[in-house]
């Protein structure tokens, strides 16, 4: 069997001595689309940050299917909308071009090829008409597409997206899903923090269900069922969640 692109072993993350995530173990297969699912405060974003190496775990290991020093060109990241300053003076094209920065090193200027890649990716997400627009003039969905184009321009192996479907309309959701599938077809791997239980089975082949501790990590088919969902979301506290996944 092929080596996993990411493996996590006994990962524990704590803030101020209090555990936020405890003893998470699992593997992400190359070419998979994985959803991280859990209620608010379950540690989804913390988990994402810990595996991207932005947080130092209390214990445990995160290893990649590539060299550690290749990380900056092999990992792409799409932040949640609203996490950047919308009034920041950058254009749509500037943002997409930022995806090329890790390939350039810190001193070289972007070349014609980098510009072409950035433009091509904006075209893929349907934003090529907006290249000169300042990002604050876009709608939430359009902004999300531009950040997706930046990640695509990174031409990475492993893509992390933090709630990409939050607050976007149907058209943008469709574009994002298409792009994620295209990444998979080209041998990339995608990990998404996801909120909508209704679309888990439709969009993702693997799930990581967490609520401080791991409930289930594996194929959507075998992992994602009534029992695990109620354990993840503790439906005795939130009874309205019970029907939302079928």
């Amino acid at each position: 069997m092929e080596n996993p692109v990411l493996s996590v072993k006994n990962l524990t993350v704590a803030y101020d001595g209090k555990p936020v995530l405890e003893n998470i173990t699992g593997e992400i297969k190359k070419g998979s689309l994985t959803a991280i699912i859990g209620p608010n405060g379950a540690g989804k974003t913390t988990f994402l940050k810990a595996i991207m190496g932005l947080l130092k775990p209390l214990s445990g290991e995160v290893t990649f299917g590539f060299e550690d020093k290749e990380r900056k060109t092999k990992i792409a990241y799409v932040p949640q909308t609203g996490s950047t300053d919308r009034d920041f003076p950058v254009t749509v094209f500037d943002v997409a071009l930022m995806g090329r920065y890790p390939h350039l090193g810190w001193f070289k200027r972007p070349k014609k090829k980098d510009r072409e890649i950035a433009f091509e990716m904006l075209k893929k997400v349907g934003m090529e008409k907006y290249i000169h627009r300042q990002i604050g003039t876009l709608s939430g969905g359009q902004e999300q597409r531009v950040f997706l184009a930046r990640a695509l321009a990174q031409q990475a192996k492993l893509y992390f997206l933090d709630e990409p479907f939050k607050g976007v309309d149907a058209a943008t959701e469709k574009v994002i899903v298409e792009m994620l599938r295209e990444i998979r077809e080209q041998g990339g791997t995608v990990v998404v923090v996801h909120h909508d239980l209704n679309t888990v089975k439709k969009y993702f082949d693997s799930v990581i269900m967490i609520n401080k501790t791991l409930v289930c990590w594996g194929d959507t088919e075998s992992c994602f069922n009534e029992k695990t969902v109620s354990r993840t979301f503790k439906t005795d506290i939130f009874p309205e969640m019970k029907t939302s996944y079928d």
């Binding site: 940050k49 991207m52 190496g53 932005l54 990380r71 900056k72 990992i75 792409a76 990241y77 932040p79 996490s83 950047t84 300053d85 920041f88 003076p89 950058v90 254009t91 500037d94 930022m98 920065y101 890790p102 350039l104 810190w106 001193f107 300042q134 930046r150 990174q154 992390f160």
Partner: protein
């Protein structure tokens, strides 16, 4: 016109306007980053912290050499910067509160030390008080040289590290993911603001220093919407404000240069905030009125067709 020509033949005027222009460029460039990093007042905190540094340097060495006093200012600025950073990092106190506390406490300490210093025999010649309001007209070619070196260092560094500086200012998490040492960029940019505040103190004084950083950047942002052009325009506005302020203050007797520069920059900022296309307040008002009129006409046309 001939007056202006005569002005440029005046040596003092040339020195002061050159120094002020360079300072305008330095502060304009760094101000763009400071404003976008939501650290507009960082320069203010640092410059106020420089005052106790200056007084302490004088009290310890009893020496009024400018280099020593400026080193004291730098130390005071760095201590303030560290205090603000440490308070925000290790307590739940927010940046604005940490800044306000550090700024006023350090300035208070500075005033206390100043009182002690002024009781010493040679204090009047040291001109410690001029650091509070600045005294641009006393600028020497050595001062200009110090500003020139600082500006050159900052411009070259910003040009070389443009991409990481831009990326960290825009999106910290993404920067970390792609392997930039964010804390290093944070440190360098904050240190540069400290440096600019310290070299600018003699011109505009500790109280008005932050206007030099904030006003050109705020004005520039109104006209353009790319970081590259904003930084460039901010530098141009800063330089222009420096020269204009010097010229205006030279035309009147005993009008202090530093405050006039700050007022010039302020006027340009207000002008930009009101009038800039797309973002300007007046521009928006006019546009809204036009749109409203169009809409009313359209609604009327519906009504008449019924």
């Amino acid at each position: 016109m001939t007056d202006l020509f005569l002005l440029f033949q005046d040596y003092t005027f040339c020195v002061v306007s050159l120094g002020s222009a360079l300072l305008g460029i330095l502060c304009g460039v760094l101000g763009s980053f400071a404003v976008l990093r939501k650290q507009s007042l960082l320069g203010d905190g640092i410059s106020h912290g420089a005052l106790p540094g200056i007084c302490a340097a004088f009290l310890i060495t009893l020496c009024k050499d400018e280099e020593i006093l400026l080193l004291g200012a730098l130390a005071g600025g760095v201590i303030s910067l560290c205090l603000i950073t440490l308070i925000t990092r290790f307590s739940k106190i927010k940046f604005d509160c940490a800044l306000a506390m550090t700024l006023s406490v350090m300035f208070g300490l500075g005033l206390v030390l100043l009182t002690f210093a002024q009781k010493l025999p040679n204090s009047s010649q040291a001109g410690l008080k001029t650091f509070i309001y600045g005294q641009a007209s006393a600028m020497t070619s050595k001062d200009v040289f110090i500003i020139l070196i600082s500006t050159a260092v900052v411009l070259v560094t910003v040009a070389i590290f443009w991409k990481p500086f831009k990326l960290v200012t825009f999106d910290k998490v993404f920067s970390q993911v792609v392997g930039i040492k964010v804390w290093m960029v944070d440190f360098v940019l904050s240190f540069f603001v400290t440096l600019a505040s310290v070299v600018g103190i003699k011109t505009v004084g500790v109280i008005l220093m932050s206007a030099m950083l904030v006003a050109p950047a705020a004005a520039a942002r109104q006209w353009v919407s790319r970081l590259e052009t904003m930084t460039l325009l901010s530098a141009v506005i800063g330089a222009f404000g420096g020269v204009l302020g010097t010229a205006v203050s030279s035309s009147f007797e005993s009008v202090p240069t530093g405050p006039v520069i700050v007022v010039c920059l302020g006027v340009m900022a207000v002008f930009s905030i009101l009038l800039a296309p797309k973002r300007g307040v007046l521009w928006k008002l006019i546009k809204r009125k036009q749109n409203r009129k169009k809409l009313i006409e359209r609604v009327k046309s519906f009504e008449s067709s019924d």
